[in-house]
Amino acid sequence: MTVSKRIVLRFPRRLVERPIVYRLVKDYDLEFNILKASITPEEEGLLVLELKGDQKEYDKGIKFLIKAGVKIQSLSQDVTRNEERCTSCGACITVCPTGAFSLDPKTREVLFDNEKCIACGLCIPACPPRAMEVHF
């Protein structure tokens, strides 16, 4: 069975210079798509990946990453909506490049599907009450 997941990887300083993603391709035959990559002043590496492959190989790849010392989190935990501040106006809908926001046709509430989110951050300043948050 093939799986495709969006994950956030955090590399400690000692791993920043190692070709971790290369090993995912070579040893576990996983496809990757880099959504975001950065190195912070403390030289911690951040990589947001879409990772695709056979479920068994995917699990092995994730195990390899954990063993190497990479911290892994699902992307959906990093992009969240503050429900107290969201007014369901809809300002985000046409701004989002991946269609992660949609309208409930009945209630006209704005729905957020974080599985579609690629954490580009375009919605954050476009939201008047600042309801969208990225926690990187």
């Binding site: 007014t87 369901s88 106006c89 809809g90 300002a91 046409t94 309208l103 300043p125 008047p128 009450p129």
Partner: protein, 402 residues
Amino acid sequence: MARTIAEINEKIKAGKAVVFTAEEVIAVAREKGVKKAAQEVDVVTTGTFGIMCSSGAYFNIGHSTPRLKLGGGRAYLNDVPAYTGLGAADLFMGANALPDDDPRNRIHPGEFNYGGGHVIEELVAGKDVRLAATAYGTDCYPRKRLETLINIKDLNEAVLFNVRNAYQNYNVAVNLSDKTIYTYMGVLKPHLGNANYSSAGQLSPLFNDPYYRTIGIGTKIFLGGGIGFVAWQGTQHNPGVPRTEKGIPKEGAGTLAVIGDLKQMSPRWLMGSSVLGYGCSLTVGVGVPIPILSEEMLEYTAVTDADIYAPVIDYSDAFPNNKPDILAEVTYAELKSGRIKVKGKDVPTASRSSYPRAVEIATTLKEWIRTGKFLLTESVQPLPGAESGAVIKPLNERPIEY
């Protein structure tokens, strides 16, 4: 049939008033017919929740010891400048005010994270706000500096006073240019990439009383989660625009100036807002009850999104340069379908005002009336109507001779 506001109030007091929201009454009118529906329905409630820039609040902070005269001095609330052209202890904070050190659009588009609207929201939420003031000092008001925390509960008066709210209809904004633009109508992508609109349509107050037969000066309303009143017609009130056969204005028309005690309002209905590349503002909740005094009023309140047209305007050229060009006229039913046709292109739409929150306002007002908590008022004077000849004028710039 005819009904008076006094009769409706008697029914409200007895807990017998029949009240529907402007959304619900559409089905009632369809099922029963206008005549029968008008006999049965006493009040229809409306609502709108959107960014309304010409909003603000005034405060009386109480006199310090020794006294300081704010009037003619300078004052800041959480670093946002307040207007000090009033008396010794009065301040006015407008929703669009920005801290002196906000970078504005120096790095375009500016984010505008905190301004006057946010100060109003924080005060309403009961949070302490920093007041810093300087004055020139007089014999009777000798003090020159003041720095203190203030809280809404300690202020003598805190009054929301919005000079233009609840616009009767509004433009649909698009961008014909080849670069993204950042407007008060939101981010507009190039080449008709999207279309933004801002009205609750069939639920919006002035669409349900298009000729201002019942809404006038003194009308009691839902304002910011509490109770307020229509103070006057809003600025830019422009009743004489083209209308449909049913009297619905086909572009921005009437507006309301509204006032109410800020102390009984809620941050859920007054939210500081940031408009990318444009500025800070306040999102305001307004709901107006419409008494069904006649069949005509029931017919007005049964208006649907399909009956209401809005003009599509290019915000890259026509709007900034005050050109009258209208690219298309579309209904709110089309806008709410998620796509409209402009110049042969299928354009995705998005709203700037919240329809679910407009429903919540109309429903809240309905419950207040049903449970006898909210009585209707007679207006003291009607707003200028279509026949008044009132029009808004552009600025006539005249050179100054030196």
